[in-house]
Assembly symmetry: C2
Homo-oligomer: 402 residues x 2
């Protein structure tokens, strides 16, 4: 058995640790990235934390440009993995899927290929480039699992579970993501500042009564009393799973909400007002400079935040509807602690919560429970074995009846 | 008679208009700048507003690099002005003073040569480079008038006037500068953003009981009920006139205060927190970039703000002490209206309030009232003719007893 992981950022870091913890199932692991040093750093961290379960299977690094389909094909043919886990940035999804198709290798990722804010790449079209591979994956006789992180991922499985067991009829699905952690910096982003700031200023899209509603960022807010982390303000935002849930889970309204503190939004608003979040270049002393690249250079490297991170994340799916003729309102959620995550895998909870579901889904694939031929979003697959397995991989979950 | 004006920024713009309004006294005017087009724009504006009093005296433009002493000397020798008015940025003061010394030409400026925030250029040393010319100016038989804007300038004259007429003993001199105007932009600076942001984040220096106290920016605040513009928060800040007042006007405490709205300070704090106000370069994709240059490129050009500016400035000197054995507290001040300034000279009140005092002082020089040989800060000269003349040049003033 063998797994090829492509990508060595924060999520890739934890995926590799978790893969190593289960390498009795996965076999040999190859971690590939444009920058091979990042892979070697992860391998050193796995050794340091003693996270490699069995020693007879190898963990190796490889250099690959994930935009380059022939290079990907060559690497896959050399390694012959049973599964490619895509832990790269979203814009490489389509290239890796094509390479998997050409080599007849199964595929798994954790986020959608589009940027969700440029015209033609917004929520209603979010999965178009990847769903275009449905026939190809069937022809190739391989499995593709899309959006197997936390959000998208576990939140979508929660919706499928609620649809299967808890509700006869669903009025609303509200996915809610709150990071109540503290990295101790005045201002920092938890992943690439450029991607993050573009995403946050994009219009939100939510699904209602069969059609898409588009609203400017931060104009729809609600305050929700979360388990453990308490009352938090969350804002309607464009996110991958709103598109796939609208496709696969019947509900009258589907929306994604992200928690932002007043302090965070103040930083965001000032930066936007002065033009620092613009995707357009400005001329600085004769040189065209992208303001967001300057911001990225100024802010702390997101990977540097993990060691000092305290507090918890709470991400879940709030469903309202009816069961057996009675009104029901239930929040299915996970709580993840930044410090505990760091203790185990030397990374913070945001990467941890994305990586554990990917490994849960990969294990189900190896156990032949999530391995039908074809291309699937996780909410199309049976939620029961997933939610039964995930706690043993590192993430608990619970249902809070409201 | 002839005047050479060096500098064609915002203050230079209004100085030229005011010079033209009094060219029966000043004679021929030459406006010189590194960028001659800026001079020609001012000349066109003077014509548009019909601000040239008599037509027999010329108004011409010239190109000069104000850092280049031989070039300055050549220009002065060609024009043979009775007075050089320095309306350039502060860092050219010393070069222009040297050229005036070499050509035996009298000199006038509106701000100090140091940046007030770099080590060795702070308030206690602010006038060292210029006061070093005292002997030279005496030897050359010329007059030098330093700091003849509003602050420094009129506020220093107010202190001299109060010392002469209103107080036997002065406990405190608080210079206070509030711009209660609105330029209609989300965020903008009223002059060069780079200079402005460096100045605002520097430590404040105030003078107390014969020694200098240094405090971080925005740590000393007071709320003052200003005439016309009402209650405003002002913050202790490094400023030129604190140094010269400490030299020439006896007082127990001398301090400068600048008004900042909560909104302005919020922008400032966010920009500082993310590192955008740092004077040190950052590496952006392999290129070293100065964050403040990026900010300058992003923000509106300060010269573009004048047409839409509304509201008023209030700048003055608050003195507390004793007269005839009684406690006294008096605020000497001016109110200036942005729209009225624009109507008259196509610029806003901040440039207007700096330029009118410079022209008032220049007229006193031509009237042989402020023309003794030697180098003087304005508070060393007789305040009475200055305050008698200034209202007719464009700025009223009043005393508010508290």
């Amino acid at each position: 058995m063998a797994v090829l992981q492509i990508g060595a950022g924060g999520v890739g870091w934890v995926i590799a640790h978790k893969c190593a913890q289960h390498n009795d199932v996965f076999g040999d692991l190859t971690i590939a990235s444009r920058n091979i040093e990042k892979c070697d750093k992860i391998i050193a961290s796995i050794a340091k934390r003693d996270n490699q379960k069995v020693s007879q299977h190898t963990i190796e690094s490889a250099q690959v440009d994930a935009d380059d389909i022939p290079a990907l094909v060559a690497l896959i043919e050399q390694i012959k993995p049973d599964l490619v886990i895509n832990a790269g940035p979203p814009w490489v999804n389509v290239a890796i899927m094509e390479a998997c198709y050409q080599t007849q290798t199964s595929y798994l990722d954790t986020s959608v290929a589009t940027d969700l804010c440029s015209p033609g790449q917004q929520v209603p079209e979010a999965y178009d480039p990847q769903w275009a591979f449905r026939e190809k994956f069937k022809q190739a006789g391989i499995t593709g699992i899309l959006g197997a992180g936390f959000d998208p991922g576990v939140v979508s499985v929660f919706a499928a579970y609620a649809h299967k067991h808890l509700f006869d009829e669903i009025d609303s699905i509200d996915v809610m993501d709150v990071n109540a952690g503290d990295h101790g910096k005045k201002f920092a982003t938890n992943f690439d500042p450029e991607t993050n700031m573009l995403e946050i200023q994009g219009d939100s899209f939510y699904y209602e009564q069969g059609s898409w509603k588009q609203v400017p960022c931060h104009t729809r807010m609600l305050e929700f009393d979360f388990p453990v982390v308490g009352k938090q303000k969350v804002y309607s935002m464009a996110h991958d799973e709103v598109r796939s849930l609208a496709e696969f889970i019947p509900a009258k309204r589907i929306e994604f909400w992200m928690g932002f503190s007043d302090k965070y939004l103040n930083y965001f608003n000032v930066m936007r007002d002065i033009g620092l979040l613009s995707p357009d270049p400005v001329n600085v002393d004769g040189v065209d400079i992208h303001p967001l690249r300057v911001l990225k250079a100024l802010l702390p490297d997101p990977t540097s935040l993990a060691p000092g991170y305290t507090g918890k994340t709470c991400i879940g799916t709030w469903l309202q509807g009816r069961k057996d003729g009675e009104k029901r309102s239930a929040f299915l959620y996970n709580i993840c602690d930044h410090e505990e995550a760091y203790q185990e895998v030397e990374h913070q909870a945001i990467s941890y919560t994305t990586a554990v579901p990917a490994i849960t889904a990969a294990l189900l694939y190896f156990q032949n429970k999530w391995s039908d031929v074809g291309l699937y979003n996780v909410e199309q697959l049976d939620p029961d074995p997933f939610l039964a397995l995930m706690p043993s991989i590192g993430l608990d979950w619970d249902v809070h009846e409201l």
